[in-house]
Symmetry: C2
Subunit: 492 residues, 2 copies
């Protein structure tokens, strides 16, 4: 069945770009590198937000909102962070336009409205949040401070792709402050686990949990925890990160608290975030040549019902029965759409809902009415079956759970088949070029070797997996000793 | 009971500013005119968002997300809109910082990273959304397009006040496109009614519904509907607006559709929005000299329970009973907090929850344990009573509804007492200076008179009330004939 969608095997990248647009998820805007998230795509993002927000609140976090702009001087305060983000930021320098006297109807920047200090559109909010925390924290009783923000951020990317890398994107950023190093570390690890649970259980995407190497850490962090997912083209995608900031921001912004002995100490910090990039991971993990495949947990429409009829009487009869089913499904908390548009053929509708990844499609025609059945099609494995209308609500409820878990298993199997252990440089290069996927290999632990491997192959160290056992070996590039394999891949 | 809060009668403006900060709603940030919305304030905003979002979806709208930036050329396309907003906008001119070679650790704007076209941080999104709609609309089948966006916007205000007027604020903006003038008008009116219902029923704030005069209309609109609320100091606050845009944006951005006869026509548009400004309306309508007063619908904590005890044993006994109550209240969908902190005195806690506007406070001591009672204090009218623990869940549930409706009635009575009909200029000036509040008066219908009245008194025409009957009269300033009274007030 063709939706004029390029096949993945022909051009994976083109397939992705076409799918995002044709499935009504997002499109490029008239602003370089900025996307429009369309209603259908945004409805999926809203489901992610709702679940994450619930999980954040269950772990004791509250939402707040901080300014979009960071004055340059605040931005400079944490040196590494500034270095890491200064190269790609939008800078507000003026606050007024005026009429162009030489060109009617046109506006020019008013040179008299230059800001004394430039404002950076936040690429991340540590530099605006920590000066606020300084005001809020004075005693150990003010700690821990557990705050999350839902916001837009801007990083001036030169090469952008819908959802995966855009100049503006939507995300959440958690920022916490603690009295002890241990507590901050545990917070960073806890949120790492929250992301893992969310991405695996809710998005049906298996991940490898690990720590970033020093080179790949968040600018200003002592430790960055990451979850790494594998896309169908064998490339990795960083799906979420949680940073243990140590005392770097506390020192940069002078945030101290009096401990229970009255002594002043710097607080310990974390930050953690996931973004609309997860939409890219979702699409590239589950979808196929027919279009989007959505896990039931994230599907704005979980069940679509299409009537097949020749006469108006048939349609009336079908509708009477379907309306009852729709009511019952909704009572069960299932989101369902009955598409009774008469100007479109059933085949057209089938294509449309396949393209949009609706997990279950029911069709009902005159024969089904007679037999008391529906034709049920699963989007994930494209199978069809005839199902009795008696008890179909319960059947669908269970099937949605089955689909959710089948999608995870399928992705997990794919991922496991694409983790290869290699011991030599030749094997390494061979897997990268032919099999693709994750590679577990020994590395000598130096940034120099990491950099060299990247230059030679474009593969990066995705993470030092947390569950990886100690094992003697030698670095694939330098032959120097190593006691743990790390996870390599080419990445988005 | 003093919270070191300035009294309203002493200095209303100071009272407001202090209350916003002391009740942990918001505070000024290090960025000129931008606020930090603190967790407690944000939790109230989240409740507003959730309810509004539900109402928008029930009326057929979907959420989407459009870019933060508007290229200058798009901004210029609708002339009136550009004129109206160009005078107060943040302008991005560069996209990179670099190290200052003369000043280690400092960053400067990289002059080589100047944008070819400046980007305006959206003050409102018509100019970025309508070019997108051009891509989405080709036939009458694509209409109506009913979209809402939750977003931050920036207007470079010179004088700012927390929630009421800030450079950056949070809002929702609906943007719809329709095939006929009638349908677009009805949409604008429908959303006007949605705002009315939300503000009156949910926020317990009575409003006057009306249309703006030409002068006060949204830049680019053919008609602006508004809801106007009255604050305790007798000043008006515009709480929400819904605009019938006619075809102005469709023409500016060339958005046409083929009607069912295949003819091309310009579409008709609306836009409508409410913002974090509503937080200001909420505070200034209900609160008193003891602090915030929250309608139960918007209270993050609806019931707080404070134990009064001398010994640990007493606390244990109290806690055992209270934990049961907490469970039962939560089962009833009531948000409740049990504050058993032992390092703070009950009186301190009472003050804190009064300051934060928690609608119902329960206290329980050893005597109550004996008698099977709680002491219940209402925040809205500061009354106390002793209530039997048997059936207290049902009692509280009903009382929350009573408080919600009492708050509305109280505000409505105040508002009605502060609407004065005047027929002469002297009366007009007298009411403005002494009684304050809304004034219903005749006006000759010209922008010149409107402007002159504003210059003379600072009072503006808040709206032409929709329910105002026709009535012969003469303009209070010019003596020219008029057939309808309009609503004047000094305003925020």
């Amino acid at each position: 069945m063709s939706k004029n969608l390029t096949k993945r095997s022909e051009d994976y990248s083109k397939w992705y770009n076409e799918l995002v647009v044709k499935a009504d998820l997002a499109e490029n805007s008239g602003v370089r590198g900025c996307m429009v998230i369309k209603p259908y795509g945004y409805a999926i993002w809203e489901k992610m937000q709702a679940q994450l927000d619930k999980m954040f609140k269950e772990t004791g976090h509250e939402n707040a909102y901080f300014p979009l702009f960071v004055p340059k001087s605040m931005f400079e305060a944490e040196e590494k962070n500034a270095e890491g983000f200064a190269k790609e930021c939008a800078i507000v320098t003026h606050y007024r336009l005026k009429n162009d006297e030489n060109n009617k109807g046109k506006l020019i920047v008013d040179p008299n409205a230059k800001l004394e200090e430039e404002l950076i559109v936040r690429p991340t909010s540590e530099a605006i949040i920590w000066p606020t925390y300084k005001k809020w924290i004075s005693s150990y009783r003010d700690l821990p401070l557990l705050i999350n923000q839902w916001a837009n951020v801007v990083r001036w990317e030169m090469r952008t792709r819908l959802f995966l890398r855009t100049a503006e994107f939507l995300w959440q950023e958690g920022h916490t402050a603690h009295a002890t190093k241990q507590e901050a570390l545990e917070e960073a690890q806890q949120m790492h686990q929250v992301y893992t649970d969310f991405v695996q259980d809710f998005m049906a995407i298996p991940v490898v949990k690990g720590a970033k190497t020093e080179t790949e850490r968040f600018a200003g962090a002592d430790e960055t925890y990451t979850i790494e997912a594998l896309m169908q083209d064998g490339k990795a995608l960083q799906a979420g990160t949680s940073h243990f900031l140590g005392q770097s921001f506390a020192k940069a912004f002078d945030v101290k608290f009096a401990n229970n002995e009255g002594k002043l100490e710097y607080v310990w910090g974390t930050s953690w975030g996931v973004s609309t990039r997860l939409m890219g991971a979702l699409i590239m993990t589950h979808s196929d040549d027919n279009g989007l495949v959505l896990p039931p947990n994230l599907a704005p429409i979980q069940v679509v019902i299409v009537p097949i009829h020749k006469t108006d009487e048939q349609l009336d009869e079908i509708s009477a029965q379907v309306n009852e089913l729709v009511k019952n499904l909704r009572k069960n908390g299932i989101s369902v759409k009955y598409d009774s548009r008469t100007n479109l053929k059933p085949g057209f509708k089938f294509n449309e809902y396949e393209l949009k990844g609706v997990p279950i499609r029911l069709a009902i025609g005159p024969k089904d009415l007679e037999n008391g059945t529906y034709e049920l099609a699963r989007r994930d494995n494209l199978t069809k079956e005839v199902v009795a209308k008696e008890g179909i609500e319960e059947y669908i409820k269970n099937l949605l759970e089955t689909i959710q878990s089948d999608l995870y298993t399928k992705a997990l199997n794919f991922r496991n088949e694409h983790i290869t252990e290699v011991n030599t440089w030749d094997e390494f290069v061979d897997v990268l070029e032919n099999k693709t996927g994750f590679i577990l290999a020994h590395w000598d632990g130096t940034p120099e070797t990491e950099e060299k491997i990247k230059d030679l192959t474009k593969a990066t160290i995705r993470c030092i997996p947390l569950d990886q056992k100690e094992e003697e070996g030698v670095c694939i590039l330098t032959g120097k000793p190593s006691n743990k394999r790390v996870l390599f891949a080419k990445a988005y």
